[in-house]
């Protein structure tokens, strides 16, 4: 086991201990609540340290970090999934987040040769192939093109890939955490391609990264000229190194692997290149031994983020909030339904916050929990009319060896004590 992996696991275990301790302390507080009621809650009736003593000055944290009480809100990895942490994945802690924007430091990471560290002064973006003039841009050149700001989700094609053969990982961080959503600032890819002058024979674009994997993907020219961005900012600040600093490709609604990070080259050609990540990987093996390729679009999908196995119900029966995320590579989410009985009956959820094309949507279902067992599910529909399928419908169509593009309906079993488990239902 690598050192990094060990630390990750220790961190996860430690945060779980803290959570349990907090639960015990909460229980103790409840037990003494009767006796204390006359006097009142001590955090109110007694002057607290933070109410008396001065806090840190404005010079204490030139780059602010989350509160120390949020230290359990971190990306986590699953060591056995891949051979080595430098060609691996970690997961966004969806169960701790709300709204539709993912904080930069919590966006899941997937890279194939570690995080490339590149001084923007040494970075170049080249356009070559079937163009009138092969060009080289510096970062400064890129900043002089007209920019756009767009909110998009990015989902790894393998998100939920471990669940094909049945319920496996206890936590939506692990079952669904290969997705994030930020606002990108960047230059429309079409401006760059038009600057070089795409020849009429140019039908495909190869995007290539500057990292040690020199990641490459073939993208059809229609998509490249439609809504792709060459982005250098996320959520207003420079891309994080692990997200492709100084510049990455944004391919809205399509699988994350195509969003080439540390983007250094765009080649225009008349045929796809059949690179490793579009042949041996990111192709979807079916039960009959055939494999689909060029399965770029991320299908309509949703998941309940709380309650979920890492975020049990701790308040008992009564008013309860179910919250989750829905998204589709086809555009906006039209509706999300929530079931409390394993998909027998459905209730329309409330989508709150911006509803943007190819972005995460936040939904809520507010209800009175009677304290009995629940099998909670969410089902999303997008504006193109696609409805999120069940896992069994997907298996019937594809078998269990596809790895990628598992957008099946997730079921969480909420028990009477509020604990939550990942299950499959009849």
């Amino acid at each position: 086991m690598s050192k990094k992996t060990k630390e990750t696991m220790d961190g996860a275990a430690a945060s779980r201990r803290r959570f349990l301790q907090a639960g015990i302390a909460g229980g103790a507080a409840l037990a003494t609540a009767g006796a204390a009621r006359a006097a009142g809650d001590p955090v109110i009736t007694e002057v607290q340290d933070w109410n008396r003593y001065l806090g840190d000055g404005v010079d204490a944290a030139p780059y602010g970090m989350p509160s120390e009480f949020e230290s359990h809100v971190v990306r986590r990895d699953v060591p056995w999934l891949t051979a080595d942490p430098v060609s691996s994945i970690n997961f966004t802690p969806l169960h701790e987040l709300d709204g539709i924007i993912t904080p930069n430091g919590l966006c899941f990471e997937r890279h194939h040769g570690g995080t490339a560290i590149i001084d923007p002064a040494d970075h170049r973006l080249m356009i070559n192939g079937l163009v009138d003039t092969p060009l080289v841009f510096t970062m400064q050149d890129l900043m002089r093109f007209p920019r756009e700001n767009r909110v998009y989700f990015l989902e790894c094609a393998a998100n939920s890939g471990m669940e094909w053969r049945g319920a496996q990982l206890n936590g939506c961080q692990f079952t669904h955490g290969m997705v994030h959503c930020v606002v990108y600032t960047g230059v429309p890819l079409k401006y760059l391609l038009e600057e070089a002058g795409v020849k009429t024979s140019g039908k495909w674009v190869l995007a290539e990264g500057a990292d040690a994997a020199a990641m490459t993907r073939s993208i059809p020219i229609e998509k490249a000229l439609d809504d792709c961005l060459v982005a250098f900012k996320m959520n207003g600040e420079a891309l994080r190194a692990e997200q492709g600093y100084p510049v990455r490709l944004v391919v809205p609604g399509w699988e994350g692997n195509m969003w080439v990070k540390w983007l250094r080259r765009l080649e225009v050609g008349d045929e796809p290149w059949a690179q490793r990540e579009e042949t041996s990987k990111y192709t979807d093996l079916l039960a009959n031994g055939k494999a689909r390729r060029h399965t770029w679009l991320m299908d309509v999908k949703s998941v309940i983020t709380t309650p979920s196995p890492q975020a049990p119900i701790t308040h008992g029966r009564g008013q309860t909030v179910i919250s989750g995320l829905a998204w589709s590579g086809n555009g906006r989410i039209k509706r999300v339904d929530v079931s409390l009985d394993g998909g027998r009956n459905w209730h329309e959820a409330r989508v709150d916050g911006p509803s943007l094309s190819k972005a995460l949507h936040r939904f809520y279902y507010d209800f009175q929990w009677d304290g009995s067992d629940m099998l909670i599910q969410s089902r999303a529909m997008d504006e193109a009319g696609f409805i999120q399928p069940t896992k069994n419908e997907l298996r019937a169509a594809r078998g269990e060896n596809s790895i990628y593009h598992n957008n099946g309906i997730q079921t969480w079993h909420v028990k009477a004590d509020g604990a939550v488990e990942n299950v499959e239902v009849s």
Partner: protein, 365 residues
Amino acid sequence: MLKFLKSGLLATAVLAVPVAAHAADVADGEKVFRKCAACHSVGEGAKSRVGPHLNDLFGRQAGTVDGFKYSAAMVAAGESGISWDEQTLTQYLVKPRDFVKGSRMAFAGLRKSADVANVIEYLKTFDEKMASSLGSAEAEMEEAEVETAMADKPALAADMPLPEHDGAFKLGRAATEDEVAAWDMDIRPDGVGLPVGSGTVADGEVLYTDNCAVCHGDFGEAVGRWPVLAGGQDTLTDDRPEKTIGSYWPYLSTVYDYVRRAMPFGNARSLSDDDVYAITAYLLYLNDIVEDEEFELSNENFTDIHLPNEENFIPDDREQEAHYADKSEPCMTDCKPDPVGITMRARVLDVTPDSEEENTGGAID
């Protein structure tokens, strides 16, 4: 081009400065050394690895670090009187295999003369004899340093006249042929992009054993969770299919392309084009696609070879699946018989990272 030369006086002047007059910068040299660090170590406790350690390099006769297995060519070079100093290192680092023909160092060379000067300056800091003289050398070069620093910064691009192109924004500059050649290394199934070269199965076996077997196993069977490269034929419809070059990959070009761009893991771009032909040939041999150890793969016969699974890739037809084809309003009430039962629990094969149980799950990559 003429226009560019005339008005780009500053840049031209800097380009014309001979190596010796470059401001050599230790910090920049440290960055350049990252290219070398995959094979060479330097500094306290440095040991010979893929390449010899580089402590106290200056004045060292070529090919003489104790215990390191040099090429015969490098030993001969040392015996013929070559020892490492600023001049010999400069010549060597520009094109290693030109300076010492037959050198085992796979590195192609440093293209920028500033990089060469800087990395030499960096190496001097690990040489007891040279370290003391560093201060004065830096002072001498102070003036040149200003120009070099400016020339290295893209900010200068704004001051240089842009070559003409038809773009609407007139941003960027034309890529040179050498620049395109340096980065455009992709290869397509139809053979477009293949470099001239060749390699045999027998050569490939040696290279594979040295460079690949540590992760992929001696016969492509893989160590740990590293990718399996050989075998797995007729397993694609099994419960646990084994997707290898022979059983799954559609095109041989992908093997060549990927090995050349990203392998060996952690030392990408260190193999020569012929090396990659040889390794690709050996991978065909491991997958029983060629059976002759003398088989030579080259740019001439490359596209004659087809991988067995090529025909089994189909276009994306997800939209035709029953659950997508039916776009009617979904059921809202009494959609299933009551009650709904639990058929499987994650707890049964709990492989969540916090748990201490052994995993039994499938890998995703």
